[in-house]
Amino acid sequence: MAKDLIPQEMLRIDYNPPKTGWMDTPVKIKPGIYCHPAKPEKIADVGMPNPHHWNPLDEDWNLPENWQQIFFDGMRERLDKHRSFKIFMDICVRCGACADKCHFFLGSGDPKNMPVVRAELLRSIYRKEFTTAGKILGRLAGGRELTASVIKELWYYFFQCTECRRCSLFCPYGIDTAEVTIIGRELLNLLGLNINWIQEPVSNCYHIGNHLGLKPHTFKENIEFLCDDIETYVGIRINPTFNRKGAEILFVTPSGDVFADPGIYTLMGYLMIFEHIGLDYTWSTYASESGNFGFFTSFEMAKRLNAKIYAEAKRLGVKWILGGECGHMWRVIHQYMDTFNGPADFLEEPVSPITGTRFENAKSTKMVHITEFTADLIKNNKLKLDKNRNNHLKVTFHDSCNPSRAMGILEEPRYVIKNVCNYFYDMPDTTIREQTFCCGSGAGLNASENMEIRLRGGLPRANAVKYVHEKHGVNTLACICAIDRAVLPASMEYWVPGVKVAGVSELVANALIMEGEGDRTMNLRGEEIPKGEEGSDV
C-alpha cells in the first residue's frame, strides 16, 4: 500500500476545515485509514459482548437490535464511574489549543482529527442525551442524535487516535482526549465493534500467554535462538531460565521483543546485560506478555490480562519484577496495575541486587523499568562499556508517548544512551520529552491495511528525525517501546530513508564488554562494526 502513496502528494495537507460544519458532514470511510474489523470468534472467546460480522464499507453494520440503548446505558455507567469522563464531557471551552497538537491532524488535515472535535463527536451525544439544555435545545446547545452514521463516525475516529495524550499536555484544563477515546472505545466494544489487530492479540494473550500466540515451547525456543545469535556475535553462551521458582526477579517484556526484528536485538541486549551482572532472574512462559492490548478494548480486559504478571510473580516466589522496554505496557503498569490487581504485598520493595539501590518510586507496585535499572547500573559503574563500538551510530531518541506523558521517564534513557554512544543528538525541543510526537501507530493501530493513516500520523515524528538526520547525520532512532520498534522502521523508510530503529538495551549491549567475550567484530544485528574507530578517541 505504501508504494502507491507518494510522499510529495501526502505532504499536500490543507489545514483549513471545509465550509460545512462537522455535524452536517457524515463520515466517509476510506480504505487505508481503518483496520479490519475484529473477527467474531476472537471477541467471543474472551467473552466480550456482541460478536458479529460486519464490514466498515457496508451500509449496515449489523448492530444488535437495541444498540442505542446499549450505548446510552454504557455511557451512563461510565459517567458514574469516571470523574474524568464526566468532567471532560462538560468543561471543554473549545479554545482550540489542542487542535494542532495531534499527529493525526497534522498528518492528515482531517478536521475531525483535531482532538477537540474527536471528543466533540461524543460530547454532542452526551449533550443531547444527558443534559437538560441539550434535550430541550438540541442543535442549538450542541447536541445531536445518535444515529447509525454517528456510530460509524465514532468508530472511524476513535480508531484514529493513538491515545498518546499529547493534546492533554496543552489543554488548559487537562482534558485528556485519550481518556475520552479509551472510554469511547469501551462503548464501541459493547456493540462488538473493535478491530482485529487489537482483538486477536487480546485473545492470544488471554489463552496462550502473549499477543503473538507463542506457545510455551516456542517462546523458549525463540529466546534460545537469540542466545545462539549472541554466541555467534559475542562468543558467549547464555542459558536463561524459564518458569524457575525461587528466582529473585521475574522479567517480563512485550512478546514483540521475542519475535520480530528489530525488537529481538533489544531482547538480546536484555539477555547480555543480565548475564554480565549475574542477575538471578527468570522468564515466564505464562506471563510472557507485558504489553496489554486489552487496554485498547476495555479497562476490564486490560485488568484480566494484566493479572497474570502478579499471579506469576506470586507463584514463582520472586522478590520483585523487572519490566522491559515498552510504551503502553508501562502506562498500564504505572497507572493501573496496582489499582487493578494490587496490593502486591507478597513481593518485596525492589532493591537492585547489584548496586543496592532501593527503587523508592516502585515501592508499591514492586515493578522497576529496565531503563531505570540500567541507568542505576551505569551510574554505579557496574557495566564495563566501550562506547566507541557505537561510533558508527549517530543516535537520536524518540520519547515514546506513554513513558513520557503518563510516567515521566525522560532523563534515564538519555543518560543511558549518552553513556554507551558518543554521538547523541536530540530532536527539536517542541517534539521531544513531554512534547514528544507519537510514532503514529500506537494503541493497536499498527496494522498494514491502515498504512496511509499510519504514515500520515507518523509524519510529525519522522519530520523531526529528518531534521537531525540532515543536520547531524543521525542514522539511528533509539526508543524504549516495542510498538515503536515495530512501526517506526516503516515510517522511517518512507519519510527518512537511512535511519534505523533500535532499542536502548541493544545499544547498551553493543557497547558492553563481557567477560570472556570473543573478538567483537559484529554487532547484534550481524553487521560488521566499522574498523579503525574502536578505541579511537572522539
Binding site: I13, H82, K363
Partner: protein, 328 residues
C-alpha cells in the same frame, strides 16, 4: 450562524431590560432578576461540583509534563510532574493563576514539506488578561455593595485606576477586559479552524460579557446614572432589604439584567470550567503511581486465565521443552 444567534439573543435581553424598566418594571429587573440569577448561580454551581465529585476517580492518571521522581541523582520536575501534595498544589496554582498549560502552546506550520512549531502566546496572554481583569472587576464591585468599603477593595480600586486618565479615572481592567473579549471573539470569527469548532454556546457568553462591560463603561463615562441611588439599590440587595429609588436610568437595569443572565447561565454552561479545572484528574493528582497504592472504589473481580488452566492446556508441550511444571 452560531454567532448570529448568540448576538441576537444578547440584543433581545438588552431590549427586554430597556423596555421593561421603562415600563415601570424596575423592581423586576433591579431586584427580582438579580436575586434569581444569584441563587441559580450559587445552587447550580454547588450542584454541578457535587455531581462531578460523586463520580469517583478510579485510576491515578496524571499527565506527566516533566521528569518523574526517580533515582536520587536525577532531577525531578517537581512542578510539572509532582509526586507530593505540595507539588500538586504548586502545579494547580500555576495552572489556575497563570494558565501554565496554555503558556506551553505552540503553533504548527507546514513549510515546504517541513513541520515547524513556533511559539503561540497570544491566546495565553489575552485569556490571562481577560480572566484576571474579570476577577478584579468583580471584586472591585464590592465597593458598591458594602458600607463601609473594606480596605482591600479601596486599595484595589486605587491600583486599578492608577493611570489617572480622565475623570472619573479609567480602569486598567476595563481596558483589559474589553481587549480580552474582543480578541477571543475575533479569534473565533476570523480563524477558520476555531470557527469550525465553535458552537452557539461559545459565542453567547462572549457577547454577553462584552455587553456587560460595554454597559458598565457607558454608565461610568457617558450615560451617567445616579450613583448614590445605584449604591442604595446594591446595598439593599446585599443586606436583603431591597429598595428601589426613583430616577435610576435604564442603562443600570440593562447592566444588571445582563449580569443576572450571566449568573443564571453559568452553572449550565462551559463557564463551569471555573469549577472543573480544580477537579481535573490529569492535573490534580500526584504522580506517585508506583509508590502509593490507589484504590478504585468499584473494583470488582474479573475472570482470568489462571496458571493452572494454562498448564493443563500446555503441560505436554512444556514438559517436552524442559520447562518446569507444577503437576506431572
Amino acid at each position: 450562524m452560531g454567532a448570529m444567534i448568540s448576538l441576537i439573543a444578547v440584543l433581545v435581553i438588552i431590549l427586554a431590560a430597556l423596555v421593561g424598566s421603562m415600563a415601570g418594571l424596575q423592581y423586576v429587573f433591579g431586584v427580582i432578576l438579580p436575586y434569581t440569577g444569584f441563587t441559580i448561580l450559587l445552587v447550580g454551581f454547588v450542584f454541578r461540583v457535587l455531581d462531578w465529585a460523586k463520580s469517583p476517580v478510579p485510576f491515578r492518571i496524571p499527565t506527566t509534563a516533566g521528569q518523574e521522581f526517580s533515582l536520587p541523582w536525577i532531577k525531578q520536575a517537581k512542578l510539572d510532574n509532582p509526586s507530593t501534595t505540595m507539588g500538586v498544589l504548586g502545579r494547580m496554582a500555576f495552572e489556575i493563576l497563570a494558565f501554565r498549560s496554555l503558556f506551553r502552546n505552540t503553533k504548527a506550520e507546514l513549510r515546504s514539506g517541513n513541520l515547524i512549531y513556533g511559539p503561540a502566546k497570544w491566546l495565553w496572554l489575552f485569556a490571562l488578561a481577560f480572566h484576571w481583569a474579570f476577577f478584579i472587576i468583580a471584586v472591585r464591585h464590592l465597593r458598591l455593595f458594602m458600607v463601609p468599603v473594606p480596605g482591600f477593595v479601596e486599595w484595589l480600586d486605587k491600583l486599578d485606576s492608577i493611570m489617572q486618565i480622565g475623570t472619573p479615572p479609567l480602569y486598567i481592567t476595563d481596558v483589559l477586559l474589553i481587549a480580552g473579549v474582543t480578541f477571543l471573539l475575533l479569534r473565533r470569527l476570523m480563524s477558520p479552524r476555531i470557527r469550525y469548532i465553535s458552537l452557539p454556546a461559545d459565542y453567547f457568553p462572549l457577547f454577553l460579557i462584552l455587553a456587560i462591560a460595554t454597559t458598565g463603561i457607558l454608565m461610568r463615562f457617558f450615560i451617567r446614572t445616579d450613583i448614590v441611588g445605584v449604591k442604595e439599590i446594591l446595598v439593599g440587595l446585599a443586606t436583603f432589604h431591597p429598595v428601589m429609588p426613583d430616577g435610576i436610568g435604564p442603562i443600570f437595569f440593562i447592566h444588571a439584567t445582563l449580569v443576572s443572565v450571566l449568573m443564571a447561565y453559568f452553572p449550565f454552561s462551559k463557564l463551569m470550567h471555573l469549577g472543573g479545572v480544580f477537579l481535573s484528574p490529569t492535573r490534580n493528582m500526584a504522580n506517585n503511581n508506583r509508590m502509593v497504592r490507589h484504590v478504585n472504589p468499584w473494583n470488582y473481580p474479573v475472570k482470568i486465565h489462571t496458571y493452572d488452566e494454562y498448564e493443563d492446556e500446555f503441560r505436554d508441550l512444556m514438559k517436552g521443552a524442559g520447562i518446569p511444571v507444577e503437576r506431572e
